[in-house]
Symmetry: C2
Subunit: 331 residues, 2 copies
């Protein structure tokens, strides 16, 4: 098994990407790794200890703020483009990137294409929950103007992902809605509710509300990409505001510093309970190859865990399972 790493993508690339690759190899993972990026920069950081890690040169990077598909079309030699092409050419079995998510998605769609029977790809946004397990919010923004049929596909793909990669049995699926009753929502939700209820290959729970996401009411929260993206960013926004407020108002100043010191064990406990680094990385679902997206803030540990996710997606033939599910339904 061989996994291509976008060595130039992410806030801490290439340093932490190279360190993450070394961490994965040191952990005894079965996959060989291919670091894709500016060869000189990568080799310098890799040093001598490079067993099972090779380098493929790519001179360009898609920046975090760049327009993804425009950047990919303009420059043939981007690290994410070259890494994804390795998968297409059979020289790698999957790709992992902490870079511009839009670019990773655009590369996957342009180079790998979609799984037959899946009209629209989806992004699985993994969120921590108070139940000590993460939940998958899908679609977190890959596709605008989703249909009810797309939403059904998302629920299926996310179910297969959680089963295969994280070992969940019959993960539960909630449809994001404005209330719990089946008749809630607009036309899209009403139609999606009908399709989800009728799908025998899903463990459909029913409607869930925004506040259920972090509560972990269901393993999967399915919605259209516009709602999913907006909700995910709004939740991040609350977290940021509260963290800043705590830092400044509660733990700022002399008395606050004392309070912080006394509270530190509790702060660590709270952080540990909401830690979901092993789950934060997820493959783009619906594209015809394993392409794992991890957080732009990823450091070595998170990248290593993202490689684990790619490894398990490849080993469990996640793409084949999604393809079989889609054709069984469309047949």
């Amino acid at each position: 098994m061989r996994i291509a790493i976008d060595a130039m993508g992410g806030d801490h690339a290439p340093d932490e990407m190279v360190r993450g690759a070394l961490l994965y190899r040191a952990s005894g993972g079965p996959a060989e790794l291919v670091l894709v990026g500016r060869e000189g920069e990568v080799r310098e950081r890799l040093g001598a200890e490079a067993g099972g890690i090779s380098i493929v040169d790519a001179s360009e990077v898609v920046g975090m703020g760049e327009h993804p598909s425009a950047a990919l079309r303009r420059r043939a030699d981007t690290s994410i483009g070259v890494a994804t092409q390795l998968v297409k050419d059979g020289k790698a079995d999957g790709v992992v990137s902490a870079g511009n998510t839009g670019a990773t998605m655009a590369a996957a769609l342009l180079i790998l294409g979609r799984v037959r029977g899946i009209d629209r790809p989806a992004l699985c946004g993994m969120v921590p929950t108070t139940k000590q397990k993460p939940a998958c919010l899908i679609d977190a923004g890959a596709t605008m103007d989703a249909t009810a049929r797309n939403i059904l596909d998302y629920a299926r793909m996310a179910s297969r992902f959680l089963e295969r990669v994280h070992g969940l049995e019959r993960p539960s699926v909630g449809l994001l809605n404005v209330g719990e009753e089946p008749e809630k929502g607009g036309r899209l939700q009403l139609e999606a509710f009908g399709l989800l209820s009728a799908a025998s290959d899903l463990n459909f729970f029913g409607n869930v509300e925004g506040r259920d996401i972090l509560r972990g009411t269901t393993d999967i929260v399915v919605t259209d990409g516009f709602t999913g993206n907006t909700v995910a960013k709004a939740m991040e926004g609350v977290q940021d505001v509260v963290s800043e407020g705590i830092k400044r108002d509660i733990f700022g100043g002399a008395l606050g510093k004392l309070a912080a010191l006394v509270a530190m064990p509790g702060i660590k406990r709270f952080r540990a309970r909401m830690d979901y680094e092993p789950y934060v990385s997820a493959p783009l679902l619906g594209v015809a190859g394993v392409s794992v997206v991890t957080h732009g803030r990823a450091r070595a540990r998170m990248l290593k865990l993202a490689i684990d996710v790619a490894e398990r997606a490849i080993a469990s033939d996640l793409i084949g399972v999604i393809r079989a599910g889609a054709s069984a339904v469309t047949a």
Copy 2:
């Protein structure tokens, strides 16, 4: 001026509703108040000191979990129904309720009807921001399947509300979207962006993202009711989870209690900065009468502030201004 109060609606009714009415009168507010609810219960709490406050009997209440329009149709004598009818009959100039929001809205639509030229009503969800001023998230869930034209109406109505009731000059309007660029979003957002850009009676800022809501990037964040409701509940969910985590992990236990004691001034500072009780209440926009919704958790102070909002909406002829704006556009 006379304002009807749903004395039976809300988690702390009727006690806190009666106390809120007394607080409003004690503050020297110009409006006479009509408490609508079970006469015996209300009179007992009102006591002797009832200058400028009268009671109208209504024997039923719509519960917080009840299906609103079904409850209203089934029972003629609900406090929210009777209070809203007082407005329709010209016996009150506005109504205030801390009860079931759906029931307040259903009563307003059934009894008062819509403003001519406004197809769909909208709920203004007031949220605190880090800029020490609140923002209006509209539509927070009144209407499903909104059109771009509805969204334009929401932006106009919220602008007039913030100008008239809170004295803002040219409040800024952001369209909730998945990115800042004008070409972002689905069909609905693209069409709404065009309409909002072209509206000369709006101070349109452009697209904003979920994380901008609490940042106070714009005074108004406009979106369809499905997205608005889902986002509002998801943000509340994060807040709940973080508060619980802080209570349990950080300030729980013996050491935590000490930390909490030392941190108390900061906690108060943080709470004060996010206090938005003067703004939390807002009229339903698009209905042909002043019908102010406040939080189900409202106690006396919040109810008093909600009466202030109703008073200013009536005094500034908010409904007339919205009507004039709608007919100027549709003419």
